[in-house]
């Protein structure tokens, strides 16, 4: 069931709503972000080709140089990280270590996908689970309190921000410990821009970023989360091991249906137990609902609007993803599990 769009003005070209902070519309009902994108669109094809060359060069430089693995994949089991991992394995022949952060809400179908794909691609896999009381308190806190700065919440819900923050820390920490030169993410083209698609990480910026994350949480929770972050001694000890982050979907062709079809040929199955914006997480619908209630716009709307604008997603499909009510059963499932 879609919410009543007649009462909500949305951009005639993408899908951003009038409730999105800072948005303006011109007399044709097109938002300022779409108008700005017109200037960039002409340069996009050349830029994508340039980034593919840059990745080719980077991989030629680092492949087979590290002791065990060329890349660590932040692997959720969803379609984007599954496809990214497949691409890196099959196109580049990388030695990959996949790391999954089990947040206690990964769907059973997704866990099967993870096992199936890592087996099929001959990829080693680490499953990292934090104790349930820590996960419960982390997600309860982010669901009920405004702990992150407002700009952070323009791109993702507070719950997703907390979860992804731990994922980023865990993969970087593991890369440093195991001397892995590449950290791969499956960000969709709407989630992260091409400009950051190949990025050398850096000790001082990482330290500052981690400190900002620690400061966001209440002190007791921050203390319990500390062991998942980068230990202070690592910044000097492993200063020469800071890896390159890559998210190739920003510059490879992206078509959701084609990706699903290609993955399904490996035995991966699109989960039927997740919401429309996730192919792995049973917490996502609740996270979206909390964000909608507190901020008045869907936490995925920026990502999906970008994809519509870039032409990698049909506008009607985008509207369906964003303006469909959250599945009440899934929202209740997470709320009850979190004891809220």
């Amino acid at each position: 069931m879609t919410r009543n769009l007649e009462k909500l003005k949305i951009c005639q070209r993408c899908i951003l709503p009038e409730t999105f902070p800072g948005i303006t519309f011109d007399d044709q009902g097109v938002c300022n972000h779409c108008r700005r994108e017109e200037k960039r669109a002409a340069r996009a094809p050349g830029k994508k080709a340039d980034y593919r060359h840059r990745l080719d060069d980077l991989i030629a430089e680092v492949r087979d140089q590290a002791p065990c693995y060329d890349a660590i994949m932040a692997y959720s089991g969803g379609k984007d990280s599954s496809y990214t991992m497949k691409l890196l394995k099959e196109r580049y022949g990388l030695r990959i270590l996949a790391l999954t952060f089990d947040n206690h809400f990964i769907s059973p179908a997704s866990l099967e996908n993870i096992a199936r794909l890592t087996d099929q691609l001959d990829i080693d896999h680490l499953n990292f689970t934090i104790p349930w009381p820590v996960a419960r308190d982390l997600f309860s806190c982010t669901a009920t309190r405004d702990i992150f700065p407002a700009p952070t919440l323009l791109r993702a819900s507070a719950i997703c921000t907390a979860c992804i923050g731990i994922v980023k820390s865990l993969v970087l920490k593991t890369a440093l410990e195991m001397s892995i030169p590449l950290v791969a993410f499956g960000w969709s083209p709407g989630q992260a821009p091409i400009q950051s698609a190949i990025m050398k990480t850096n000790p001082t910026l990482t330290a500052k970023n981690q400190q900002a994350m620690k400061n966001a949480y209440p002190p007791e929770l921050s203390r319990r989360l500390e062991r998942y972050l980068i230990p202070a001694v690592y910044y000097d000890r492993y200063a020469d091991r800071f890896p390159c982050n890559i998210h190739p979907l920003a510059f490879f062709d992206y078509d959701e249906e084609a990706i699903k079809k290609e993955l399904e040929a490996t035995g991966w199955r699109a989960p039927e137990d997740t919401d429309t914006n996730s192919s792995n997480c049973l917490l996502n619908a609740f996270a979206n609902q909390c964000h909608l209630e507190r901020h008045g716009f869907h936490p995925y709307v920026w990502e999906i609007a970008n994809m519509v604008r870039q032409g990698v997603m049909d506008r009607d499909e985008g509207i369906e993803k964003i303006y469909t009510d959250q599945n009440a059963n899934m929202v209740d499932y997470a709320r009850e599990k979190l004891e809220l």
């Binding site: 902070p21 948005i23 990025m199 850096n202 910026l205």
Partner: protein, 84 residues
């Protein structure tokens, strides 16, 4: 033609507001920390660097990617003025 400090600040501000605050400039003072304020993360810094390299025709080395150079409009402006 050399750019004034005011011009440089304005260009940086416009970029941050458009790309990270999506047009909403209420919380951005010249000395607001991008990282502490949740405005950009360590990944977003690279987007900023690419913009600076293109817009101001400078080259920024990996060792210059430190908060002292890139963590606020004032920091970036001072850093750029040294390079221009």
């Amino acid at each position: 033609m050399s750019l004034s400090t005011t011009d440089i600040k304005a260009k940086i501000r416009d970029f941050i507001v458009e790309n990270f605050l999506f047009g909403s400039a209420d919380e951005l003072a010249d000395d607001t920390s991008f990282l502490d304020g949740g405005i950009i993360d360590s990944t977003g810094v690279l987007e900023l660097v690419e913009f600076l390299e293109e817009e101001f025709s400078v080259t920024i080395d990996d060792e210059e990617l430190i908060p002292e150079n890139l963590d606020s409009i004032n920091c970036v402006t001072a850093f750029l003025e040294k390079k221009l």
